[in-house]
């Protein structure tokens, strides 16, 4: 779950933050981005919306270079929960029980078996999930991958020494409350491994989307013999197509082929390059410049941090460079949150007026234009609504000030004065809100807060501002990782709130959330989340503003690059490679 405060300028200012800390925005998942193909042909790069990869199909061999401004936070699968690392780790170094299809567009949101033979078999009304491993799976040293190794890594995610990873295992598994991981010699009884190929998870409650949960790096194998505690981060033992040859933290990571990985056991990963070199610690802007220029080894390079907003002007006007830009939706929704705990937004009529007043097109423009963002029409991003944009309210993208004025008049609230608090980088977007609301007669004062203090400012329930802009990304394509985090009144704390910035507490909404969480059928649950999304739009605790795209550039010799919808638009490492391996260096 992820609270996101990302903005164009914030990305620019917090150059170095984009990968690590700024991975707010980051370990989010999913979005198909196939909803508005009409707009795609004119403004989007080939990797965006069109369902194609930049550079065509790669040829096997060569050295792919990855340029980045920072080091990985964690490559240890029990601790890996920020975006570039999740894509990088699970596509290259270790495999998980289930994973996302390596295809652009909608298809990339679908899950497929990875180490397992299927996407899991639920029983006991969704409270027990069983997986069977494929035959003949091997680690980099040729030793067999056992189901107990997956159990071991899931257990590791409970260890207080191994922090930072996804905590879904701790949330879902029975008896996990007081468990402190396997390093002290204790094991978790709710994960059973009756034989070397079978693993059974017993959950506290039915979890319809557990197959999606099993795509997380927590569900990758770690052999107990390789346990090195916190040092495991330096050299995760490979079960995927590449193994670590050298890792000089903050400088360079070199991956070479794992000769014991059997392509016939892995229908997802294409593993085109012979070698992958990650060059770290570069300055953000230089990464863009180098890939635009594509000189020497940079022709065979891709970038990991977001393309910087100031590079947009260097990319879009040049057709040949634009053709090398991937811009898949991140799957996150940016919204304007209305503080429903106090006047004037405790009045649903006033909230509805704001919903109509906001000019969402101006938001997209302020962020950098339609090449890197789309107007949002619902809280749930298209990836969670079956690939199509849900638009139940049919409000014009530029807003309707006249209608908003009428609504305010009907509510008896005129001459409203409110304040909007935004992160420093969001100032332009804040001013766009100010402008559109002033047309409806609402005066807005824009306050900017340093990104480092922004979360704390919003998290304080009493001092929370009347309006704020923020974002949310689902962990995997399920409404369960989205709406409850934004609008469940029970999540409101005095301090440290994350998500429910509207402080929205509505009994009917909470009851419905509980009902949906208990549904054993994942399709039925998804339909119900969509209905709840519609109901929430009517109640207007927030205004969905836009769906950001992750703009990334690739070199002239790179092929098979597209934004992976399952990894928030990161370049899918499973399929990227080179056009001409002979032209790569190193």
């Amino acid at each position: 779950m992820n609270r996101r405060t990302q903005t164009a300028l914030a990305a620019a200012i917090a150059a170095a933050l984009t990968l690590g800390l700024g991975a707010c925005g980051s370990k989010d998942k999913s979005d198909s981005g196939s909803g508005d193909t009409a707009a795609a042909s004119s403004t989007k790069g080939p990797g965006a919306d069109t369902g194609t990869a930049v550079g065509g199909t790669p040829v096997k061999g060569g050295t792919l270079t990855v340029l980045t401004n920072q080091d990985f936070a964690h490559l240890d699968p029990a601790r890996n929960w920020t975006l570039p690392q999740m894509d990088f780790g699970t596509r290259l170094i270790y495999r998980t029980l289930v994973t996302f299809k390596a295809e652009p567009g909608d298809a990339g949101n679908q899950i497929v078996p990875d180490l397992a033979t299927d996407t899991g078999r639920p029983s006991d009304g969704g409270k027990t999930w069983s997986f069977t491993l494929r035959d003949g799976l091997k680690y980099e040293d040729g030793s067999p991958i056992k189901s107990s190794d997956i159990k071991y890594n899931v257990e590791r995610s409970f260890s207080p020494d191994l922090t930072g990873g996804p905590d879904y295992a701790a949330q879902y598994l029975a008896g996990g409350e007081n468990y402190k991981g396997p390093l002290t010699g204790e094991h978790l009884a709710s994960i059973e491994t009756p034989d070397d190929r079978t693993i059974v998870f017993r959950l506290k409650r039915p979890v319809a989307e557990f197959a999606y949960t099993a795509t997380l790096p927590t569900f990758a194998p770690v052999p107990p013999a390789q346990e090195k505690g916190t040092q495991y981060d330096m050299r995760p033992f490979s079960s995927g197509p590449y193994k670590i040859e050298s890792y000089d933290r903050g400088k360079q990571l070199v991956l070479v082929r794992n000769t014991n990985w059997d392509p016939s056991s892995d229908p997802i990963r294409k593993a085109y390059p012979d070698k992958i070199v990650v060059t770290q610690g570069l300055k953000g802007g230089q990464v863009d410049d180098r890939i635009i220029a594509s000189d020497g080894a940079d022709a065979s390079a891709i970038e990991m941090p977001w393309m910087r907003p100031e590079s947009v002007a260097k990319v879009l006007p040049k057709a040949d460079v634009k053709a090398r830009m991937v811009a898949e939706r991140t799957g996150c929704t940016d919204s304007l949150y209305l503080n429903t705990s106090k006047a004037p937004f405790d009045d649903p009529k006033v909230r509805e007026a704001v919903m109509w007043a906001v000019d969402r097109e101006a938001q997209v423009t302020a962020f950098g234009g339609p090449a890197i963002a789309d107007v949002a029409t619902s809280f749930l991003p298209p990836s969670l609504t079956g690939g199509v944009k849900a638009d139940p309210l049919k409000i014009p993208a530029a807003g309707d000030a006249a209608k908003a004025k009428d609504l305010l008049k009907a509510a008896g609230k005129t001459d409203l004065k409110v304040s909007l608090t935004v992160s420093l980088g969001d100032k332009t977007r804040g001013e766009a809100i100010q402008q559109s609301l002033s047309k409806a007669g609402i005066q807005v004062t824009v306050n900017t807060v340093d990104p480092s203090a922004f979360t704390d400012t919003l998290g304080d329930a009493k001092a929370a501002p009347e309006l704020t802009i923020n974002g949310w990304c689902p962990d995997y394509p399920s409404g369960a990782t989205f709406l409850p985090f934004l609008f469940d009144g029970r999540t409101i704390k005095d301090k440290g709130n994350q998500g429910n910035y509207s402080q929205f507490r509505d009994q009917a909404t909470m009851d419905e959330m509980d009902r949906i969480a208990a549904l054993p059928d994942v399709n039925e649950a998804n339909e119900a989340w969509k209905k709840l999304d519609e109901a929430l739009l009517q109640k207007a605790p927030a205004v969905p503003l836009m769906w950001q795209r992750r703009a990334l550039l690739v070199g002239t010799n790179v092929a098979g690059a597209f934004g992976a919808p399952g990894y928030a638009g990161m370049i899918d490492m499973a399929t990227v490679g080179l056009k001409d391996p002979a032209k790569s260096q190193g």
Partner: protein, 328 residues
């Protein structure tokens, strides 16, 4: 002399201890919580307590400080059970972010910062002293005026500006050099030097300007001393007068600032390393700050303090050789 050295070394230890205590206390007082940062996004209060305990942050500040100090000399164990690792002497703690001993990180990054500091120091000494001495010897001539204007100009350019301009001009526009990256001196001396040329230049320009101004003033003062007149009067060659008598006495103040500057640079040039993408101590410090990696920040602070106080000590000792009037 030995007594003096002993006294000074004790002072150095005292200063380092004080810096360590102050930095430690500042971190303790700061509102950010490294345990919460490590624990992750949806950390429950119970889990936070466990993580705090695992990181040793649940103990009172004096105890944490004592454990840290003791660890420097006696080493420490980190983690529990199968994951336990020993951090040997000199244990400056364990990086939260990198899961590596801070000492190892410092040793790993030091060659980059040393390369940057020494290389640029050579460059700025040659440029700065050359310009300063020339100006002093040609006082009030056109040459002096041109050099003065140039050095005032260079001194007023911030290093980030010069760095970006150098990259723009030399790398992006002219394509004369590749984008800088650090190459080991021992692997390939030529690419080591060519990759460091721009960062050296950026730093050297800034320092050279200051050294030119400073050395011009001290040289003018030195050359106006009566003993210079005497030396000239007794028919000593001009070069000997300038170098042996003028320069030697004029350089004492330069030695002082050089000690401080080099000491500071050895512990990392944060801006230069970040702009040129050099993985040195400065960059490590910067990343540590962004990620609240307290052990790294503390380690770099101590290292920087160590370099500066030791450089000062060395300068004081060297004084005795440069200036025969100084006796300890």
């Amino acid at each position: 002399m030995i007594l003096y050295l002993g006294r000074r070394l004790l002072g150095v230890a005292g200063i380092l201890l004080a810096i360590c205590a102050i930095t430690f206390t500042i971190f303790y007082l700061l509102p950010n919580d490294p345990a919460a940062a490590a624990c992750g996004k949806t950390c429950s209060p119970e889990r936070l307590v466990e993580v705090k305990a695992a990181m040793g942050l649940d103990k009172p500040v004096w105890e944490q400080f004592f454990v840290y100090l003791l660890g420097i000399f006696a080493g420490r164990d980190y983690g529990s059970g199968a994951s336990a690792t020993h951090c040997g002497f000199p244990c400056l703690g364990y990086s939260y972010e990198y899961s590596l001993p801070v000492w190892d990180l410092l040793v790993d990054r030091l060659p980059v910062s040393v390369s940057l500091a020494i290389g640029s120091a050579v460059l700025w000494l040659v440029l700065g002293l050359g310009a300063g001495i020339t100006s002093a010897l040609r006082k009030n001539t056109v040459v002096d005026k041109i050099l003065t204007v140039l050095s005032v100009g260079a001194a007023s350019l911030p290093v980030y500006f010069t760095s970006i301009m150098l990259i723009w001009g030399v790398v992006r526009t002219a394509g004369l050099l590749p984008y800088p990256a650090y190459h080991n001196l021992t692997d390939n001396p030529l690419s080591w030097a060519s990759n460091l040329l721009l960062p050296w230049t950026a730093l050297a320009l800034l320092y050279a300007a200051q050294y030119a101004r400073q050395s011009r003033t001290s040289m003018i003062e030195a050359m106006a001393e009566p003993y210079i007149r005497t030396a000239r009067a007794k028919g000593m060659p001009a070069l000997t007068v300038t170098v042996k008598h003028g320069l030697r006495s004029g350089m004492t103040p330069i030695l002082t600032i050089f000690g401080m500057d080099l000491g500071g640079l050895l512990a990392g040039a944060v801006i230069t390393e970040s702009i040129f993408g050099l993985p040195g101590i400065g960059r490590l410090f910067y990343d540590g700050l962004l990620r609240s990696d307290q052990p790294v920040i503390l380690g770099v602070t101590l290292l920087a303090a160590f370099f500066i106080v030791v450089a000062n000590l060395l300068v004081d000792v060297l004084y005795a050789y440069v200036d025969p009037r100084v006796r300890y």
